[in-house]
Amino acid sequence: MKLKPTLSLFVFCFAIGPASMAQKPTEPSNVNLKAVQQGIALSEQGRCGEALSLLRKFASVGQSNKDVKLRAGLATVRCAMTMDRADVAVDAIRILTRDFPADPDVLYATVHAYSDLSTRASLALVRVAPSSYQARQLNAESLEAQGRWDDAANEYRAILKQDPKLAGMHFRIGRCILSKEETSTTSADAKKEFEAELKIDPNNAGAEYILGELAQHASDWGGAIEHFGRAAKLSPGFAEAQLGLGMALIATNKFDQAVAPLEAYTKIQPGNPAGHYQLMMAYSRTGRKEDAAREAALQRQTAEKLEQEKQRNRGVEPSQPPTP
């Protein structure tokens, strides 16, 4: 089956570089600068093997030679990819994105390098361990990215046939079911998968959270409290689980119990009006009028800020039309 690797997985892996790269660059000697410039010239002639050994000190090129540094960095990435030197390419990208974060050439080279690295790694995985669950999982993730939910779910099921106790697979199948167009059995089918996941991995806060959401949508507030509560306990920093728990408690008039998870949520997500709104409700219904008024004000502020951002993103901010 054709593989289409997922870029984001590799971006995550490559985001951690060697500590040496974080060292403060020092001004190079004239000899080094000359060597770097020679390396650029060699790279332009396609002589990447020779170029790389000269370009390896490009990081030390100082601010007074920014253009040289930029060109050398890009040449390093290009040659490293040509020579299949992923380590060198990734190091160079780290330096370039640190020193030239908004440069279009750097961003373009970064996209291509990571994309190529991703493809190479996935091909290597298929080559060295074609029937491993990692290879199949990568394949399934690729199918998910293409929106082929049934195919992806089948791939995850195939993994489970190999290893019925592998954690994460039922969760992913459940996610595929929920991503498909909704049918009368969607919720029930997904619920089975998340419950199966929890039998394998009782500490999966994500599965608990989605079960909470399914219960909430069905107005099963008891179930929502149970699942959101477990998700929040497993992962206290899981903001959405705290919010879900608070909302479910409010829906069942347990206003006093709703305060703690909602306070936790607003600490994690102070810029989200949802927490302030629900906390305002909880305070208000437990007689804490001043606290409720404070949260109401925060809710309005944060909602207005988000509305302004929304308008900016839509490009509909009112302003003067262009003059003809």
Partner: protein, 541 residues
Amino acid sequence: MAISLVSTQRISAFTGGKHDCKRCRVHSNGRTPETYLPETTGAGCAFLDYDNDGWMDIYLVNSGPCDFFQPKTPLRNALYKNNRDGTFTDVTEKAGVSGNAYGMGVAVGDYDGDGFPDIYVTQYPHSVLYHNNGDGTFTDVTAKAGVAAPGWGTSAVWFDYDNDGALDLFVCRFVDFSKAKNKFCGNLKTGERWYCIPSVYDPMPCWLFHNNGDGTFTDVSKQSGIASVKGKAWGAVACDVNNDGLMDIFVANDTVANFLYINRGKGKFDEAGLLAGVAYSAYGRPRSGMGVDAADFNQDGWMDLFVANVDQEMFSLYQNNKDETFRDVAIATGIGSATRLLSGWGLKFFDYDNDGELDLLLCNGHPDDHVDARVGGVTYLEPMLLFRNTAKGLKNVSGESGDIFRKSLAARGMALGDFDNDGSVDVLIATNNGAPVLLRNNAGKENHWLGVQLIGKKSNADAIGARVTYQAGNLMRRRVKVGGGSYLSSHDPRIVLGLGKRETIDWLEVKWPLPGGGTQHFRDLPIDRYITIVEGEEKWK
């Protein structure tokens, strides 16, 4: 001129459509390159029996001259008299109800209790009140009555907030708008304009006019608390949400919090939308509230609320918690997923198939006529939705209710009314910049029914706030007469009680609103016809 608005086919729950209305008066929005916001938001429509002949007539609102629009050919509103054969005759000129500005909505109510319905037309930049003279003509009494409500008026509602037996007037006001204040929204590079999201305009307070009982009104917006908050109001409905005998009012605002004005008596309202849980989404974000309605859809004795919002926001169905708070059950009822990509305006709870349950009709259309090119999955013209109440939940039956539900419209106002007196409540939809759509309801004829016209004597003449309870075999249901509801529109004042297949109605009880407040019981009632019940009279007519 006699015009035929409907088809006579009887193949689906609803039949009819634009193709049946080639000769009726078409709404003209006067669209300009400057994209003035009122252009895309009108207009309303009404069913009313202006001549008291027992047949529902039609009123259609049109745009008209104002600072940003000077029509090349004269535009006017239209009053159509029901010819009782499925056709209507335009009697606007004789009646004198043409409108005199950029028309938006209409609210019908017998404010002086003379037995003839009067017409209030909301407009930009001022509204107009037409008093029904009882002889087929109307008189513009706006100045005398003092209800011009300067600004951009949208929906209006007649209701008796102080229980003095006279209908008062609530008028929604949208944003602070004029030609000079029009803003540029669009693509700054190309200069392409589209209709602004209302968040760019300043909010304004709504109006409340107290009926003095002598043909004049007093602006009590400030002292009542109505004007204590500013909104961007599109739709409003008056009902008693806390069962205290005082009519409250729910207002749908666009891009700011919705208002729930709780009537505390002595002419004072508290705006309690935030604590009631109806102001924002569950995630604390204001939505774009447009159409509204109120009904006890689950028959638990408490009024529930509905708001239609814009695409991506889902519509809201607020179930009454019986303690002045509400819970949005849109997702649990299937309303949420069905409306995720729609923008709703005219809407109403009613029993379309006369089985005794309150169903829900939603009329939709996106306000931005460029949205198709800008937002994936969202279109300017949108289909209507019909939800059937199965007594266990709401079921989307749009796909099986007629071809009209497969068509897409720029629907705005929507009024309910039984124009052919067959007991099946029909539907009139006003579209933006297009012909109205009149739908004949075929579904209600499959069941039995009783139509009831209530006439208040001590209570307000239109019996707004009355509660009708009836029993037919194992079916006991209650209907409440709300003020307003939908969007920019006004409805047939009669209540149709669905009986299902039951062939007798055991009893009927009317609880009149204050100041009457009495309860009357009736037995030996007919079915499949309309009756009139006058407050205090022992026998129905």
